[in-house]
């Protein structure tokens, strides 16, 4: 034991404060949720809880709507994260070059991230309005016919996707800008001497060397997007039209909290948690195998 401590004391001491904070804030709420998930907690049973076993989980899995919602969640997550990465990295590479007014571009492009989401989300909702939204007014001005964004199932799903891409790319851009600083200029100079094109430089130098910084952002971006409640909630006004635009978190939030179904909500959250966990584990394993 003593020798173990002697050998490993350094990293543990480095880690201790952060781990303490995380355990303090995350562990109890998590365990509490697990406990609730197997109970009948609801408005009618707020304090007199009873153990109900897997009842909630059976309800969730037998819900026919759930698979469509699950599919939309995947679509929502993939489209958003890929767009954030492509736009963010692309802009970072551009803005890392000799561009006139580079600082101004950078400052302007982070604004979507800097402004409080509540107001920008509602502004986007206004821009998607059929008759008076600026997007349809713009479409009409160039001779196209307006789109019923918020009234159709596809439009009402596309609207928050567009808004969320807008909200999220600046952050990825900042990260990529930071990551680019760790790439030695000499590598590009050497590639130039070899007459390599931009595509080669991007694929063989920029992206591999950005990976260590982009990887956590991509994984966490995936998790956050998967669990992003606000944007869909505000822009589609709680899943309109007719609850067809839900992703898993908005679905559970509405299904559970509108009706005080605390036990059900906790069980549903556990299901979401397990789905995410298995995704991320698979992703990390795939990444490891490739580097091997």
């Amino acid at each position: 034991m003593r020798s173990f401590w002697k050998r490993h004391s350094q990293p543990y001491l480095f880690l201790a404060p952060a781990v303490a904070v995380m355990l303090f804030i995350v562990l109890y709420p998590f365990l509490y949720n697990v406990y609730i998930a197997f109970s009948n907690m609801s408005l009618y049973h707020l304090r007199d809880l009873e153990f109900v076993g897997l009842k909630h989980f059976r309800t969730i899995l037998s819900e026919p709507a759930i698979w469509a919602v699950f599919g939309k969640t995947i679509l929502w997550t993939v489209v958003n994260v890929v767009s954030h990465l492509v736009l963010g990295v692309g802009l970072a590479v551009l803005l890392n070059q000799q561009i006139k007014g580079r600082a101004i571009f950078r400052a302007l492009l982070i604004l979507p991230w800097a402004m409080p989401q509540y107001i920008t989300a509602l502004t986007w909702r206004g821009m998607f309005n059929y008759e008076y939204g600026s997007i349809n007014l713009g479409l009409k001005a160039i001779g196209l016919s307006p789109i019923p964004w918020l009234a159709s199932e596809i439009g009402a799903f596309a609207a928050p996707v567009i808004a969320n891409i807008w909200l999220g790319f600046p952050f990825m851009m900042i990260i990529a800008l930071g990551g680019l600083q760790s790439i030695p200029k000499e590598l590009y100079e050497a590639a130039d001497l070899d007459g390599a094109g931009w595509w080669f430089r991007l694929r063989k130098i920029t992206l591999p060397l950005l990976k260590p910084v982009l990887l956590p952002a991509a994984i966490l971006g995936t998790i956050w997007t998967f669990n992003n409640l606000n944007v869909i909630w505000l822009i589609t006004n709680q899943g309109e039209p007719a609850d067809k635009t839900h992703i898993l978190v908005t679905y559970v939030y509405k299904a559970a909290f509108h009706y005080y179904r605390y036990g059900y909500a906790a069980a549903f959250s556990l299901v979401i948690f397990v789905i995410l966990l298995s995704f991320v584990l698979a992703f990390l394993r795939a990444g490891k195998e490739r580097t091997r």
Binding site: L43, N129, E131
Partner: protein, 418 residues
């Protein structure tokens, strides 16, 4: 090596210590003989301005009972008060809507007021304002109403319509597309046409209602289908209601004087006055087809007392409650915001009787129907919303939508009782 780690730990602890000491916790309690009463409210910004004046006056006059308020959104106040109830805390007083009577009393987080205050105390309020649930009164009806009325821009409309048919005809006349691009510059009638709260007046006007006496939904009825068809025809047949007209669009258009009629509650009047819109309040006119008046949902708003408040503290909290429901205070709210006072003496006061808008609002009120306070109402709202929107978007027929609403409402209620 150890140095850095120790340093970082020590450093963080020191920092935490500093912030811990720099700010004490707030909240209710007793401190040095001063009772701190906490009020949570879900008032609109203008109401809060008046409340702040009132509390400042109270706090200046009462050194030993200090009242503070915290604002919450409609959804948050319910969730937060229930959560706080679980943790054994929360506000002493809560100002909310009558919808919360069901959830709060079932969860046991509020006092039954008939037991706390007594029948005589309650008799000072208009009987019409009370919602009894489980045989008890749970909320003091400070304001009655909270309902929709028909508003018209007096620059455009001289005399209000006598019937729904006339309303439609006048609105058709007022819908004007000057440049012929298919988007009218002015619409005849704008109102939030995505929320079922705005469908209810028409539902009542066609002889329907949302639930029966046993709280079972009654949505799959001919009256519902007719009401849905009527609202949809405003858009599809007459073109007097904009597409996707939500609250914000309707509000904006009436403020920009680009709409002749709107349907909205007293909470919107101040904003229209600020935008210099000349308007008058009236009832949604008679439905000649059925001979029935369209009836908006009516409900009260008022104060709840937290069930964890007891003994000496309860007496002090009731003192504050008395003040917030005094005649003088009620008249101040009614005069400035157009809310109908729940206290009989305030309601009968001359300055209230002579207020034109209040009188019109009161007339509409008498045609309304009480919003049920049972938790089932939430499931019914959520079941009505998609059907209402589908009919307006032309995605289902009124009959289909009415049937779907009923099925969904039954399912949601069963889930809630789980």
């Amino acid at each position: 090596m150890l140095k850095i780690a120790n340093f970082s730990i020590g450093y963080c602890l020191a920092l935490l210590l500093v912030i811990f000491m720099s700010c004490g916790g707030g909240g209710g309690g007793e401190e040095g003989g001063v009772t701190k009463v906490v009020l949570w409210e879900m008032m609109d910004p203008e109401e809060r301005e008046i409340l702040d004046e009132l509390l400042a006056e109270w706090n200046a006059a009462h050194a030993t009972i200090q009242v503070s308020r915290t604002n919450f959104g409609r959804e948050q106040i319910r969730a937060q008060f229930l959560t706080a109830g679980l943790g054994g805390g929360g506000a002493d007083l809560l100002f909310g809507a009558a919808d919360d009577v069901g959830p709060f009393s079932i969860a046991g987080v509020i006092h039954p007021l008939d037991e706390i205050l007594g029948a005589e105390y309650l008799s000072r309020f208009s009987e019409i304002g009370f919602d009894r649930f489980d045989g008890h009164v749970w909320m003091l009806p400070t304001q009655v109403g909270n309902h929709l009325c028909l508003l018209y821009n007096t620059d455009l409309i001289a005399e209000p319509p006598e019937s729904l048919e006339e309303l439609v005809a006048m609105a058709v006349e007022q819908t004007i597309d000057e440049n012929g691009d298919g988007t009218p510059e002015r619409y005849g009638l704008v109102f939030e046409s995505r929320e079922p709260f705005w469908l209810v007046p028409f539902l009542v006007g066609f002889g329907g209602w949302v639930m029966d006496d046993e709280f079972n939904p009654t949505l799959d009825t001919p009256a519902m289908a007719k009401a849905l068809a009527f609202v949809a025809s405003l858009r599809s047949e007459y073109g007097i209601l904009p597409r996707e007209c939500d609250y914000q669009l309707s509000d904006t258009m009436f403020k920009e004087k680009k709409a002749a009629f709107t349907i909205n509650g007293h909470w919107s009047w101040g904003g229209y006055d600020d935008s210099d819109v000349p308007f008058q309040v009236t009832s949604i006119p008679l439905n000649q087809e059925t001979g029935l008046w369209p009836g908006p949902m009516i409900s009260s708003r008022g104060y709840y007392i937290n069930s964890s408040v007891e003994g000496e503290r309860l007496i002090k909290v009731i003192e504050v409650l008395d003040y917030l429901n005094s005649e003088e205070v009620q008249i101040r709210f009614a005069d400035r915001l157009g809310v109908i006072p729940g206290l009989k003496s305030a309601f009968d006061h001359p300055s209230i009787k002579s207020n034109e808008r209040l009188r019109a609002s009161w007339e509409q009120y008498q045609k309304g129907r009480r919003m049920p306070v049972v938790p089932e109402m939430r499931a019914i709202w959520d079941a009505m919303r998609p059907g209402f929107q589908n009919v307006l978007n032309g995605e289902s027929t009124p009959q289909e939508a009415a049937r779907a609403m009923q099925i969904d409402a039954v399912k949601k209620i069963a889930e809630m009782k789980g």
